[in-house]
Subunit: 251 residues, 2 copies
Amino acid sequence: MTTSGPSSTRGSRAARARGNGHARQGIPDATVARLPVYLRALGTLSDEGVSTVSSEELAAAAGVNSAKLRKDLSYLGSYGTRGVGYDVDYLVYQVSRELGLTQDWPVVIVGLGHLGHALANYGGFASRGFAIRALVDADPEIVGTEIAGLQVEHLDRLERVIGTHGIAIAVIATPATVAQDVCDRLVAGGVSSILNFAPAVLVVPDHVEVRKVDMSIELQILAFHEQRKIGPRSLTDQLPDLPALAEVVIP
Amino acid sequence: MTTSGPSSTRGSRAARARGNGHARQGIPDATVARLPVYLRALGTLSDEGVSTVSSEELAAAAGVNSAKLRKDLSYLGSYGTRGVGYDVDYLVYQVSRELGLTQDWPVVIVGLGHLGHALANYGGFASRGFAIRALVDADPEIVGTEIAGLQVEHLDRLERVIGTHGIAIAVIATPATVAQDVCDRLVAGGVSSILNFAPAVLVVPDHVEVRKVDMSIELQILAFHEQRKIGPRSLTDQLPDLPALAEVVIP
DNA sequence: CTCACTTTGTGCTCACGTTCACAAGCGCTT
DNA sequence: AAGCGCTTGTGAACGTGAGCACAAAGTGAG
């Protein structure tokens, strides 16, 4: 499940307004979230020299049900050939185009602690249509140093940096305490998509989309299921439950 | 939405087997995913000295609808007081207990590149019932060095490390190429919950739960929405779409 | 050309999740 | 002790997503 909760601009109203030739408009959110997974699997296949793939094979590589994969792809259009499968390279192009990865998106990372540092050095971005164009931090110890070939700029210049590079997508990797402030300034500066690594709930205007990545939350979800496996017979589990015990029977 | 797709041990069958006094068994996945968010908001309130909170206030702090919050909390039991609200500290305890955070979970991090390094140094774990007990890597340059107060051990010792500390939850922060191998060994060693940062689809037995954190995927989802905002009037958007143009009208 | 076989694209059903709206319950005031 | 206002807990309606199962459409053999 999903990882995070976006906030704005839900599409999907006219999701069913299809049926004609065009596939445009209204790809379900759940599908959009899976397209990058398909794209990665397709990239691997392409690198291996595979030119055609069936929904069954691709689904296995992406870790999903094949019917779901076919339905997902059908939202983009009819790019398969019955009796054959999908052309890998053609599908890579179509999915990339749908996701908006045929162009390069300039990105700024705000906050260069351990995590921001790791993100700046992560190669997985550049390969997929994202170009980290600027690094921003408030700590005088960090400002001016060079990370991943970029000079870290001071937070004061945030708005200027956004404007200069035409940045629409930003990554927040600051401490939680300043995340909302940074977020507000990003939005004021014109950023409309934010990837938030800070453990804080960001409040943004409707036209801004926020996605959250929070390892602490993911671990807690794992802990919940782990606890369930061990069983409801643990010590602490037999005790209090119902402060109000009435209203049980007799309506 | 989410973020990711777990794989196993879905609860929720007997979700509706309630109605009696007890609230046990069958908390919806969507609810479980939000409990950590509530817990964080509650922690902040508690630190601020707030002793009672209404569903409306807490929902605002957590960034969700108040009806949803009430329904979520109702799965744990009736811990609120009508006309008043919820006792903050009591609720913190109940949510923590439900998530299994009243005990400490020993965790191993495998892979100590930039990201693993950042994770090892992240303070947010310890404060929430998780204790990083071991760091494991295969690179001889890294093995033996000390990170966050722990000595990095060699991958060869993985099974031993798991056994010694009784580890059930592991974090994979290796390159994608070796993620599945590491995963298999973790599972063979007895780990049953995995948090995967590697951009790879992991295949695991049914009793193992995997959650995935992938910043590249999140960025691509943002790019999709960003592209939509700019409008379907961009250059590349007027072109190819329908290889097959027939079947348009007349059913 | 026809038939057998393969794989896509999708209608339909069911399950899950979200939201509304309100009755039930609690505390405070009079 | 009775009434009033506030807030929880939840029944019910609605919307979204998953997956089955099959018709449609393509390929290749005979």
